[in-house]
Amino acid sequence: MATTINQEIDARGSFCPGPLMEMIRAIRESSVGQTVAVLSKDPGSRTDIPAWVAKARHEMVAIEDLDGYTRFVVTKAR
């Protein structure tokens, strides 16, 4: 079953740590169970975003490599 994305943020114009901070802000503003997607062109996001999601104990739903950018999909777990 496809995950419903509650909010998608295009952070492709932003550089490290911008996409991570966008993810943190969106998760902060979400309710438990909601899902957020962040688009990033910054290579640092590949490390930073999954590391933060693990530390904050949310759920990393998907990391999708698309045309020149990556889409990170995260569900707020607590």
């Binding site: 932003s14 490290c16 740590p17 911008g18 901070m21 902060r28 640092g44 930073d48 933060w52 904050a56």
Partner: protein, 381 residues
């Protein structure tokens, strides 16, 4: 008819831009007006030294008038509205003022109520009053848990909390209470601060000085009674003295004008600094959404780019390409304690490669703090 040029904000970006424009354009061709709410220019990098007892707060503020060329008019008034479509701003006392060219140098401002408990539970050095209160708190601190962290991103001067941790460690050691103190540094990122190469340089110094760094700590609330910080990531940290960088926001007048598109920061073209969707409005310094340091140095290197574009438009000549494009240049010092510092110089395409901390860069920063008043606002450096 002379062009009407209005600069909003009397910080380093506003004062320098106004002076450079006036230098480039004869008075007969343009009237340059700078609008500032207080009429006082404050050297904010000095707050760190006020908090750690090295500098007197009174030396950090001067009249904006004293820093402006005679041919720049100063208007001490509060801008309460911007109508970019009509080319007008509204001032609280003087009413509506029209402009042909507008420069937004409106800075970033503290938002102490964004994090519950922050106002009462933590100290900071991001205003003169805050730095003076913190100096007193450090002077009377007899040991315990000192926690240094960041309560909101982005904030002015990314390395400042790192510098504070090092200088506070020095101060507590000199006061003989270091052995009775634990120091924890809480970073919202997975490194000491935004700039990766400089973080790699300072992190071993944290270890050397016995400062414990904790990563991915985004402060969610402060409990002033229990003296406890809670992070978004679910951790708790007890403290006896918490020093937290407050969240920052854009100027109310800019946010309410619609120019930020609902956010806090003005979206600008990273090269020209023109505000998105505008042909005669520029923004610089902390006010923009550019993914670079919010720092006086940023505004310092951006100001000539805007001044050249406006001078070219007023003079009906092409802008000189090299002087009318911002390449992301920033330069700043980073205090590492024990009388040493390093220096970072970078731009959009080149990350900094900071040298090993030395006495030289510490003395250079102290010299710059004094030389600032006679060089930067006037465009002599």
């Amino acid at each position: 008819m002379a062009a009407e040029i209005v600069v909003l904000g009397g910080g380093v970006g506003g004062v320098l831009t106004a002076n450079l424009i006036a230098r480039k354009i004869p008075r007969t061709a343009a009237r340059v007006r700078l609008v500032d709410t207080t009429g006082l220019h404050v050297y904010q990098p000095g707050f760190l030294y006020v908090a750690t007892g090295a500098v007197n707060g009174g030396s950090l503020a001067r009249d904006v008038r004293s820093l402006l060329r005679d041919d720049v008019d100063l208007v001490v008034d509060e801008a309460v509205g911007i109508d970019a479509a009509a080319g007008k701003i509204e001032l609280a006392r003087e009413g509506v003022v029209g402009y042909d060219y507008l420069v937004l140098a409106t800075g970033s401002h503290l938002d102490l109520d964004q994090v519950p408990g922050l106002r009462d539970g933590a100290q900071h050095f991001y205003s003169l009053a805050g730095a003076e209160r913190l100096r007193e708190a450090l002077r009377t601190f007899t040991g315990g848990r000192l926690v240094v962290g960041v309560a909101g991103m982005p904030y002015k001067c990314p390395p400042a909390p790192v510098e504070f941790a090092f200088l506070a460690e020095d101060l507590l050691r000199r006061r003989g209470v270091r052995a009775a103190t634990t120091i924890d540094f809480l970073s919202p990122l997975n490194r000491a601060f935004t700039i990766e190469s400089a973080s790699r340089l300072v992190e071993p110094i944290f270890v050397e000085r016995g400062i414990a760094m904790h990563t991915f700590v985004n402060i969610e609330s402060v409990d002033p009674v229990a003296r406890r910080l809670t992070s978004l990531e679910g951790e708790e940290f007890g403290y006896d003295l918490a020093v937290l960088v407050p969240p920052h926001k854009g100027a109310d007048v800019v946010v309410s004008s619609g120019l930020t598109g609902g956010g806090q920061w003005v979206p600008v073209d990273r090269g020209s600094l023109l505000v998105e969707g505008q042909a005669n409005v520029w923004a610089l310094g902390d006010a923009t959404n550019l993914p670079i340091s919010k720092a006086g140095s940023t505004a310092h290197f951006e100001a000539p780019v805007i001044a050249e574009q406006i001078a070219a438009l007023v003079g009906h000549r092409p802008a000189r390409p090299v002087h009318s494009r911002y390449e992301g240049k920033v330069m700043c010092f980073l205090e590492t304690g024990r009388g040493k510092a390093t220096m970072m110089r970078f731009d959009y395409d080149h990350p900094p490669n900071p040298p090993r901390p030395s006495r030289f860069w510490h003395l250079a920063k102290l010299a710059f703090n004094r030389a600032y008043w006679f060089t930067v606002p006037q465009g002599r450096f």
